[in-house]
Symmetry: C2
């Protein structure tokens, strides 16, 4: 568990997109962030108060979270000036970068001297069990995609937010770096060893109140040959009661695989549901989440209406038009 | 790559079953084993000449392979007397035990001093790539099971042996500890990190002659919730041209999962083929491999005949009745 609240480190971000982890935290857990720290030349702004380390400390921040992608894949000497000072001031550090904090001897030395923690959320910190497949109390919802990066995390976050707004019992369960930094906890599933993948998802979504919903962050796609094994482990480890089909209609091919096309939503529905029923015979497909960011509003709405008609399921872009329809479908189960 | 031939270490095996790794090597790659080494009280015998270290050395052995499951999960002091002497005599050591050779400081020290290698085949020794899904030359066959441990490895080994006897181009591709020790090479798939599973299978089965068949060792089952992600990675990383359905008809429930029943062979066929077609649209299910070890010969033959009738596919127990039918089906593709 990463201590909250955070100060979000934007560093010398070359553009707004480079700060998307910080933006995700600000969008989905604003209560987790007291402010942002920007270095000279920073071109990103997530709309929080700019703070020095001392100001953030006074505002209660416990952890400096690296909310920015680094240039050239390394933690620069410029960054380190801030990171070392943050440790000295009593902050923990958290990062989802490939360049691990723990691989930097100077950061390790200062962290040890000051007694502060270094969290590399790409690396599992738990020895996960092998999945036992036992039925757990409580409800679970999982978004499965026609492709990678079609909005599965945002779907889960939006449904969780909507449920909590309605006073319903709900938890977002992170399975990737950004999700873990947003909530401060989770399983970095793509870094888990093969035999323990499904077990790590069981660990992440334990017994709960019978009217509580876990919204499990999806990963990969059953139709993406590079990562389908990870998706499979989510379906069997998560034992979902409800599946959401996630889609991005403007893709020309599967992400990173020019030779592969996305499946139809019908094919995704049939495949995912058959597999999910192995772990939970009562599983149902309850709705469709479409990432319409590359479509004009009129086209997006027309596309969603068409989908509802042809698939017989509620369809929305939860980020653009709200997750209400999907939550209605869950509640009706 | 582990240097062959081997001397097979049976240690103080409490019974014959404990030496099943050694038995597998003797059964499938007798040319890889010059003899067996048994300690006092050993209750196993794989039918090779008993040899001292020096005799094995003279017979050309390069590696002492631990072909036995250890008691209590630790490498005992009694074993170490032999293992250390083997290193001193110029043998490498190879092991598939959970208790890693490299975690024993005395073995590491002697290996370093003598310049000999310690092979822990449970631990990947390669940084595998992320799968790219590109079509590769050559043919690949994969057995998929209704459950774990139904004979997928033996099916692949038997088909490979039959093809080589017929003078056809064929390679067994190991994905588990026993398979790797049998052949001296392979990918320990259950120990690979999630994101690299499918890529490790692509790495294992590279471009080859157009009339060459890789027989990929299967793992887990699409219907076994603990390990289905590993099976999925084999199906998408392996891009099989041919699937064999593997089954053990006398199981009362899924291995290790008392609440779960095996699927029908029809359900396995439909699910595995749909998923395999994502990576290779030309994939076909070509035959059925049944593990009949718990059935009388008459019942086994009647069962196989019935299956051939109902499924319209050749069916055999390749270990008991030969793999000829399955190889005929491959050749006919």
């Amino acid at each position: 568990m990463i201590k909250t609240p955070y100060l979000l480190f934007l560093g010398d971000a070359p553009d707004q997109l480079a700060a998307k982890v910080a933006q995700g935290i600000k969008d989905w857990r604003p209560e987790n962030a007291v402010g942002q720290f920007r270095m000279e030349g920073c071109k990103a702004d997530v709309g929080l108060a700019d703070m020095t380390l001392l100001e953030a400390k006074e505002a209660g921040a416990k952890t400096l979270v690296i909310g920015v992608a680094n240039r050239g894949g390394v933690i620069s000497q410029e960054w380190k000036k801030v990171l070392v000072m943050a440790l000295e001031e009593g902050f923990d550090l958290a990062s989802g970068l490939h360049n691990l904090l723990r691989d930097e001897p100077d950061l390790v030395a200062v962290a040890e001297a000051t007694g502060q923690a270094l969290h590399d959320v790409r690396v599992p910190e738990v020895e996960y069990p092998i999945a036992n497949g036992k039925k757990r109390a409580g409800k679970r919802c999982l978004a499965v995609g026609t492709d990678c990066s079609v909005g599965k995390m945002y779907t889960a976050l939006a449904m969780d937010a909507e449920m909590r707004e309605r006073g319903l019992k709900s938890t977002f369960r992170a399975t990737g770096q950004t999700g873990i930094l947003i909530t401060g906890d989770g399983v970095p599933l793509d870094a888990v060893i093969a035999d323990f993948m499904a077990g790590s998802v069981e660990y992440l979504t334990p017994d709960n109140d019978s009217d509580h919903w876990d919204h499990i962050e999806g990963q990969g796609s059953l139709f993406h040959v590079s990562y389908s094994g990870v998706t499979m482990a989510l379906i069997h480890g998560g034992q979902p009661d409800a599946l959401i089909l996630a889609h991005e209609p403007t893709r020309e091919h599967m992400r990173g695989l020019p030779e592969y096309q996305q499946p139809s939503l019908e094919a995704l529905r049939d495949m995912a549901l058959s597999l999910a029923k192995v772990g939970n015979p009562d599983c149902q497909v309850v709705g469709i989440s479409v990432n319409t960011q590359h479509m004009a509003e009129d086209s997006a709405k027309a596309y969603l209406a068409e989908l509802e008609d042809s698939m017989g399921l509620p369809a929305t872009d939860p980020y653009r038009f709200g997750a209400g329809k999907l939550v209605d479908a869950l509640v009706a189960l």
